[in-house]
Subunit: 254 residues, 2 copies
């Protein structure tokens, strides 16, 4: 009998988005690890141990989960959205690379989930319908200059841009600066989608032109999608407009 | 009683990845539309009409589904992976924008799914663990020069790159040319992941260094992830190596 570590994506936060594979991994686990608010989404199960931890403790949480699995426990480490997108799967791999050789032999599974940009895009139409990129605005683990360089490259080459981690208490100015930077490359009419807590009771979504986009609607639960020159808005009477990026690219200019 | 159109993501092709929301939308539909191989994945249901169509008929398929919904039918239009990523949701929005005004009033829902890059990434570790982009190599609907410009921008700025639609019978040379192009920006050791038919009985996955990457393992069912300078490979005895991109970016040089 050996241990197992499943890094499980819960999706955007409603059971409607939890895949059967993720549900099975949660049901099979003897111990759950995770950031407390994500762990709270998983209904308690008799006999299942629960280890909640704080935000910003990714490495310690990953190491604890690996130790549990190495000791013979079937462990599920839960992540919001998809564990492979700015989340726990990379932290686990980091620990494996730098940890004891025996961790490489562990039975490890990453269970994908619906990541925030897919949930937000679905709610508003198809803004990610053509080439796009996903960029974290957190400069905790990379220099701000690199973020600016990536914003320039992505907007300049016509990618739609999904912005993860746009703002937090410790990072209040990064989003405003990013929007400013994007205005150098993109027309003021470019649609910007603010999706917050999609799939949860307090979800909200709005579309504003880049020229008027402000940091106000964004918090830690917000995912932002900035269109390209090709992205279109379809007004609908009495409904949220549709935002989509056509399959055919129009923009070619440098 | 009015019609409804749900554009439903089936995920990578195994029921383990089908979300409950997608399952409910399929069960609720009176008529299903879709590319024949995707439609085949949906178990038949008594009284449910099925309209299979060919590949490359996205616009006609979208219009047929919209007409059905406008006539009062509850329609599900099925898509592999996520309908918002190089798939049917954008085609539906295009038809709505250019179609009769009444289509804007329709009850439209896009139901997200696990897109191929998330499934492939999960199988191999966490290659999308930091900033990344998704790029279609199909030059049916955009000029080849634009694809090259986007490859240059993405690789040059340190994004990991997921390549959709890498090859088809009508597009045999684009992938080889793209890999050549990427070799200008990235070291020969950069890991390249070829994931094929993930979640299906004949799935396969392999990792090769960019310097040796060839177009051979790729076909229409393949999704390719090209690492950045930061992406790491962890060898494991008797197992597929892990590939991951650390949460902290090392690369800053221009």
């Amino acid at each position: 009998m050996t241990g197992r570590l499943a890094v499980v994506g819960l999706g955007p936060g409603d059971a409607r988005y939890l895949t059967p594979e993720a549900g099975a991994a949660l049901a099979d686990a003897q111990a759950l690890y995770g950031y407390a608010p994500y762990l709270k989404r998983v209904p308690p199960r008799p006999g299942q141990a629960r280890h909640a931890s704080d935000n910003r403790e990714e490495r310690a949480r990953a190491a604890a989960a690996l130790k549990g699995a190495a000791a013979g426990t079937r462990v599920a480490l839960v992540s919001g959205g998809d564990p492979g997108v700015f989340a726990m799967a990379a932290a686990v791999c980091e620990e494996i690379e730098h940890g004891p050789e025996s961790w490489r032999a562990l039975d490890l599974a990453v269970v994908p989930g619906i990541t925030a940009m897919l949930a937000v895009a679905a709610r508003i139409g198809a803004p990610l319908g053509h080439d796009f990129c996903a960029l974290s605005l957190s400069d905790n683990l990379k220099p701000w200059e690199l973020i600016e360089r990536r914003l320039d490259a992505a907007a300049g080459a016509g990618f739609v841009i999904a912005l993860y981690n746009p703002v937090s208490r410790a990072r209040p100015w990064q989003l405003g600066k990013s929007l400013e930077r994007l205005r150098r490359h993109l027309p003021a009419v470019t649609p910007v989608v603010f999706g917050r807590a999609i799939g949860r009771p307090d979800e909200s979504i709005s579309v504003v032109p880049l020229g008027e986009a402000d940091t106000a609607p964004a918090d830690m639960a917000t995912l932002i999608i900035v269109g390209s020159r090709d992205t279109r808005v379809i007004p609908r009477a009495g409904k949220t407009p549709l935002v989509y990026t056509p399959r055919a690219a129009v923009e070619v200019s440098a």
